[in-house]
């Protein structure tokens, strides 16, 4: 899995940080920071959930088999 974030779409509510704090963080101004663009398997479920609830559709996932 590879994660691509679009800072311009991020509206900074921080849902991704709550769900997957090892993968996402927020800058001081609230915009998302990607800590790990290819997280280990055990975090995939949380990352998928974060992408689904992100209100700005700012988290895109490239799933590779």
């Amino acid at each position: 899995m590879r994660i691509i974030i679009d800072e311009n779409k991020c509206c900074g509510a921080g849902q991704c940080v709550l769900i997957a704090p090892r993968v996402f963080d927020q800058r001081d101004d609230g915009i998302v920071i990607l800590l790990d663009e290819a997280p280990p398997k055990e975090l995939h479920a949380a990352v998928r959930e974060a992408a689904c609830v992100c209100p700005g559709a700012a988290i895109a996932l490239e799933e590779r088999p």
């Binding site: 509206c11 900074g12 509510a13 921080g14 849902q15 940080v17 709550l18 769900i19 927020q26 800058r27 001081d28 101004d29 609230g30 915009i31 959930e49 689904c52 609830v53 209100p55 700005g56 559709a57």
Partner: protein, 399 residues
């Protein structure tokens, strides 16, 4: 798909824990339907989870609450206002610019720093309840003052002014008050916030207003008027909403003691429980509106430019296609894809603060007042069925 709801909104609930049956019928039979509003106009009611997310993320729908087509539960047209539009009312691209200006104040990290103060505020109000007479109205003694003081903390309202601030903000949310009384309280609060902002300009303390002033100075001129309206918006958006969630959550947990016991046995479950309580109650059932800026086709229905759309999010949050046993309060559900804070670019700015307040309240209230219970039969409680934001008017409790 052209079904109409004959009775105008708002419709009285038969169960305080579920949106009216008519809303559910709409979701099942006509998920995008015309409904009548109290002012005689019509709007589109959207009741499916997927459609609500679509509308709330589509920039062709506007948040301009001053547009005559914007759906409102009020009989009167919105009072003419010379106030600049609030963040809540802005559309892109202005919306994103203004929101990014304050976003940093609401990060997960910054919000968590308020935890110890919130705990203190909650404890002080429980101390006062325990020392006072029984029964007591939980709404006045606890649910309303706690979030109002948290907003004081956030903004940096000095301690000496807390009582002034809290009295006025309580007047604002009491539907029993006349428009004139509410108008006076709004005027006094705006004047107060104006003075507060001026004081922070002299001495920019380490709080939201002080930091905003310092930041704006670095990048040019400070817009004092904007800071006053932002402070006011935080009060109107974050006070009664959180208060209603506190009262409703307390009631339902008291009524389902086995669920409360499970929570108390394992405090790591509280945050998940808060998420489910938010979904279950979705108090913004009547609060999410938009107006179409152009013709939009949605789920086979043509919404014309200028028509209003109401997103019935509580009904959407009971959509069986998204949530199994959706009408059941399942504190271990672990679902976060609910619409209690809206969706899209306007999704609640204060959501992490609201989560933290509710978490601290639930962890503290039942532990410190173990015998807490309703002081009147629950059937006699009065719920805000017809209000923009759902809640309980008065909740006498004893212990």
């Amino acid at each position: 798909m052209s079904a109409e709801l004959i009775s105008p909104l708002p419709i009285a609930r038969t169960c305080p824990y579920a949106p009216p049956a008519e809303h559910r019928r709409l979701r099942e039979e006509a998920p995008i339907a015309r409904v009548k509003l109290p002012n005689g106009r019509t709007a589109w009611a959207v009741t499916k989870h997927e459609h609500i997310r679509t509308v709330l993320s589509d920039p062709r729908f506007s948040s301009n609450r001053r547009d005559p087509g914007f759906p409102s539960l009020s009989r009167e047209p919105p009072p003419a206002s010379d106030l600049k539009p609030l963040l809540l009312e802005l559309d892109p691209p202005e919306h994103g610019q203004v929101r990014r200006g304050v976003l940093g104040e609401f990060t997960v990290q910054r919000t968590q720093a308020l935890g110890p103060r919130i705990q203190q505020i909650v404890d002080e109000h429980i101390d006062a309840m325990l020392a006072g007479p029984r029964p007591v109205d939980l709404v006045q003694a606890f649910s309303l003052p706690v979030p109002s003081l948290v907003i004081c903390e956030l903004l940096g309202v000095p301690y000496a002014d807390h009582e002034f601030f809290q009295k006025r903000s309580a007047t604002l949310v009491n539907q029993q008050n006349t428009a004139e009384e509410i108008g006076r309280a709004v005027g006094e609060l705006m004047m107060y916030l104006g003075k507060l902002v001026a004081a922070k300009a002299q001495d920019p303390t380490d709080d939201l207003l002080g930091r905003q002033i310092r930041k704006q100075r670095e990048s040019g001129a400070v817009d004092y008027e904007d800071l006053v309206s932002m402070a006011f918006l935080l009060l109107i958006a974050g006070h009664e909403t959180t208060a209603n969630m506190i009262s409703l959550s307390t009631l339902v947990l008291l009524q389902q003691p086995e669920k409360l016991a499970a929570l108390q046995a394992d405090p790591t479950k509280t945050l998940g429980a808060v998420e489910e309580l938010l979904r279950y109650f979705t108090i913004a059932e009547h609060a999410l509106g938009r107006v179409a800026r152009e013709d939009v086709e949605l789920g086979g229905v043509l919404i014309r430019a200028g028509e209003g759309v109401l997103l019935l999010a509580n009904t959407g949050n009971r959509d069986p296609e998204v949530f199994g046993n959706a009408d059941e309060l399942d504190l271990e559900r672990g679902a976060r894809n609910h619409l209690a804070f809206g969706f899209g670019p306007h999704q609640c700015l204060g959501q992490n603060l609201a989560r933290l307040e509710l978490q601290i309240v639930i962890d503290t209230l039942f532990r410190r007042i173990p015998g807490l219970r309703p002081a009147v039969p629950v059937e006699t409680l009065s719920f805000k069925d017809d209000a923009t934001v759902y809640g309980i008017r008065e909740f006498p409790v004893t212990w």
